[in-house]
Each structure stands twice: as C-alpha cells, then as structure tokens.
C-alpha cells in the first residue's frame, strides 16, 4: 500500500483492494500470529458522533494486533465543545497516537484533517460522504461468498444518502461488477455518484422494483430506508414496505444468492432470512475486524506476506 491515509474508497485501486483483502484473509486464518505485531502502538480514536460498532471494531482490531487505543471521549466532554477547530484537535492528538481514526458529521472532514497530520489517518465516516473501511469489509464478504469474477450485484434501499452505498459503488467499478441499483424514485443515487460511475464506464442499471432483477443477482446488498428522510409517516410506510425481503421474496433468487446489510437493520430483512444460507450480514459485520487489522497493519508499515 502506498497510501498515507485512507480517506475515500475512490483512492483504492484494484491492486490496493486485493492487497488488503488478501492480507485480511491471512490474518483471519491465523489471528494469533499477529497478536504482538503492533505492541506499543496507540491508535487515536476521534469520534465526533456516536458510532458504537465502528468504534468497537477498530478498537478490537488494534488490540488484536497487540496495540491499544487513546480515546478522545465524547464530544460533549472535550475541548471541541469549547470551539476548537478540527484541524487543531487532530494536530494535538497526532502527538499522542501513531495513527488516527476519525468519524465526523461533516463531509470532507477526513480529507481536511489528513492535510494537517503526518501519522496515518483513516476515515471512519464523514457525514454523507465516504466510509472506506466499511467498503473494504463489504468487498471482503463479497469476494468470500460470490467472488469478483463476472459478479452481478443488486444494491437496494436508500441510495441517495447511504454513504456505504456510494463507496461500494466506486469500488465495484474497479472489479468490473454489473451493478443494479434498486430504490424508490426519491432515493436514487445522487448526481455526483452517477457522474463518477459514468466517467469510469461502469455497467450500471437503475430499477424501482427488486423483482425485475432479483433472479439474476449473485449478491443483494440491502440498506435501511430512513424514516427521517420522509416528510410524513404514511409516505415512508408505502415506500419502505416495497423494499422488504423475506423468505418468499427470495424464492425466485439463485440458490447461492448472498444477502448483505451494513447493519443495523430495522425491518428490511425479515428474521426468517437469518436462518437461510443467503444471510451473510453477521459474517459481514465480523469481517470488520480482520479487514481493519489488515488495513492498520499495512498503514503502520507491516508487510503483506504474499
């Protein structure tokens, strides 16, 4: 990896992606071999909005590499509340930690922050912008279950505001996947993402009905349609109901369809699907640890074994 910081899935080439995923696979196979790899390393956790899962996943990854974390704590109790700029905060914490993980509610925050520090900085979500480590663990799960060759994937739900979707779409372009986007008209992919996909020559189609495309899919990636995006409850109910899947929905799917979800889910996927071979969303969440271990190891100067 030749990157100093991980800011956006867009910066990752296919070679970068495969390097991280291969390394993650090695780690997953024998995690004990990496247990002292980064003893004495401290990861600075800068979470400007709550995200228990992502934070736990990074914390676990660092500790499994033998290192530890220093945590800024909640924004409420920090100097940020007193009006300190993000640029100042990261320059201060850079002095304590060997690498930084930043979650911030504003778009572009990680890119800006990375311009002020010399230690590696990983974007753990910037507003509606990017969430590249989620993308890497999504790709890991996809590769594990469906492979990258001639992959046909459907991405369904809130495509407008879902940053995980935007990052994933960019990355899938690198592996030449056939991408189908399924959403209500009002939650279609934003213009800037469609612009990029078009520029990159991606094979992309948009649908409003899952039925139109479900039988062709190798992977169905479901995201949550957020209630707060709709002006009134009845409008939300009408739309959300159309994008729920259960055992019956999947009758027409391929036997080896992989169903994914970045979690948390509300009712997009019925619990009865959990017990089928299609359900890979918990595995997907667990994959966050080896993938983040691999990424941190590479950023902190570890060598890929392959």
């Amino acid at each position: 990896m030749r990157h100093d910081h991980i800011i956006s899935a867009k910066q990752l080439t296919r070679a970068d992606i495969e390097e991280v995923l291969d390394h993650a696979a090695d780690i997953a196979e024998d995690p004990g071999a990496y247990a002292d790899r980064h003893a004495d390393t401290l990861l600075g956790m800068l979470f400007f909005e709550p995200s228990t899962r992502t934070k736990m996943s990074f914390t676990t990854a660092m500790k499994r590499l033998g290192g530890d974390i220093v945590d800024m704590g909640s924004v409420e109790s920090s100097s940020v509340k007193k009006g300190e700029s993000l640029a100042d905060t990261v320059r201060v914490v850079e002095g304590y930690a060997d690498a930084l993980v930043l979650r911030h509610p504003m778009e572009g925050s990680s890119k800006m922050a990375s311009e002020f520090v010399d230690v590696p900085l990983v974007n753990a979500g910037d507003g509606a912008g990017q969430h590249p480590t989620q993308t890497l663990l999504d790709l890991y799960t996809i590769r594990e279950n469906a492979g990258f060759d001639d992959l046909t994937i459907g991405i369904m739900g809130d495509l407008k505001y879902g940053r995980t979707v935007h990052s994933l779409a960019h990355a899938l372009t690198n592996v030449d996947a056939h991408q189908h986007f399924i959403s209500p008209e009002s939650l279609k992919l934003p213009r800037s993402v469609r612009y990029d996909l078009h520029q990159e020559g991606a094979d992309v189609r948009e649908h409003t009905e899952l039925d139109d495309i479900l039988p062709e899919l190798d992977v169905l990636y479901v995201t949550r349609i957020q209630r707060e995006r709709f002006p009134d409850e009845s409008e939300y109910r009408e739309v959300a109901g159309q994008y729920q899947i259960d055992g019956e929905t999947l009758d027409v799917a391929k036997d080896d369809l992989t169903v994914m979800h970045p979690l948390p889910r509300v009712d997009e996927i019925a619990h009865e699907v959990d017990d089928t071979d299609h359900a890979k969303y918990f595995q997907q969440a667990h994959n966050g640890v080896p993938v983040r271990m691999a990424l941190l190891d590479l950023l902190l100067g570890g060598e890929s074994e392959r």
Binding site: S85, L86, A87, H104, P105, M106, E107, G108, S109, K111, M112, E115, D126, G127, A128, G129, R191, S192, Y195
Partner: protein
C-alpha cells in the same frame, strides 16, 4: 459627446480588456470580478457585439485593475473563449487566452452546508474543474450552473 468621453469608452489607460466573452455573459463576468459599480472603478461593457468567432460576443473593460490568476481561472469557466488584454499607458502589454485550470482554490464557496470547507477551519475551498462544471475536492458536490453565485466574498 466630447472627444474625451468617446476616448474613455473605446480605450483605457491602465487596466484590463476582456474580449470574446460569449454573448450575454458580461454581467456574470462582472460578478466574478466582484464589480457592482459601488467601488468606483470605471467600467465599460459592450454586449452582443457581432463576432466572427462567437456569433455574438461581449466585451468588458476595467480601468485601473489587472486581473489575478484566481479571477482569470474562474472567468475561464464561464467564458472559455475569452482573451485578456492587460493595458498599461494605452498599450496592450500582455495578451492571453484564458485556460481552463485543473483546480480553482479559495475562489468559490461550496454550496453544501455540511461541507467542512464551510466551517471555521484553516482550509481554503478547492474545486476540481470537470467537464461540465466544478466539483468540491472535499465533499464531491458538483456546481454546474450559476457559478458567480458561489464566489466567495473577499
């Protein structure tokens, strides 16, 4: 009209003549230069003049002001065919075509209110110039139309 006043319209002593602006864009050019008549500069504008190259063109002459590279960069986005003539003592001393830059820095304000560049942080806005507009390098927001409305106040 006296000869003196005729002269003022047709020639400037020191300043900039922007020629070959697409017909109808002159007021946007003035907006980009931050000229609204209140700062006392002497400005002449000719609109929809016949032009071999453009069909119709606008011309803007600004007395006593040479354009900065930043201004020329943004200008290029709405007037890609423009030529810029720097005049000193009634003579054109420099003449150049505008060129579309790859990035414009610190000139435009990102329209995304949730973009980090709109906060009180020590960072300048940066827009990459794309085929049909500009794009924020921090949050990816694209501006296609209405560029002058996004020019940062000094």
């Amino acid at each position: 009209m006296t000869d003196d006043r005729k002269l003022r319209v047709s020639k400037i002593r020191n300043g900039t003549v922007i020629d070959h602006i697409a017909g109808g864009q002159a007021l946007n050019v003035l907006a980009i230069l931050g000229i609204d008549g209140t700062s006392g500069e002497s400005v002449s504008v000719a609109m929809n003049m016949p032009s071999d190259r453009l069909g119709k063109k606008d011309i803007v002459k600004v007395e006593g002001r040479e354009l900065s590279q930043n201004e020329v960069d943004v200008l290029s986005l709405i007037a890609p065919a423009a030529s810029i003539n720097i005049v000193r003592d009634y003579e054109v001393v420099e003449k150049h075509r505008v060129e579309r830059p790859e990035v414009v820095v610190g000139v435009l304000e990102c329209p995304n209110h949730n973009c980090i560049t709109t906060e009180d942080e020590p960072v300048e806005s940066r827009f990459a110039v794309v085929d049909d507009g500009v794009r924020c390098e921090y949050c990816d927001t694209i501006i296609r139309n209405d560029l002058p409305a996004h020019i940062l106040a000094d």
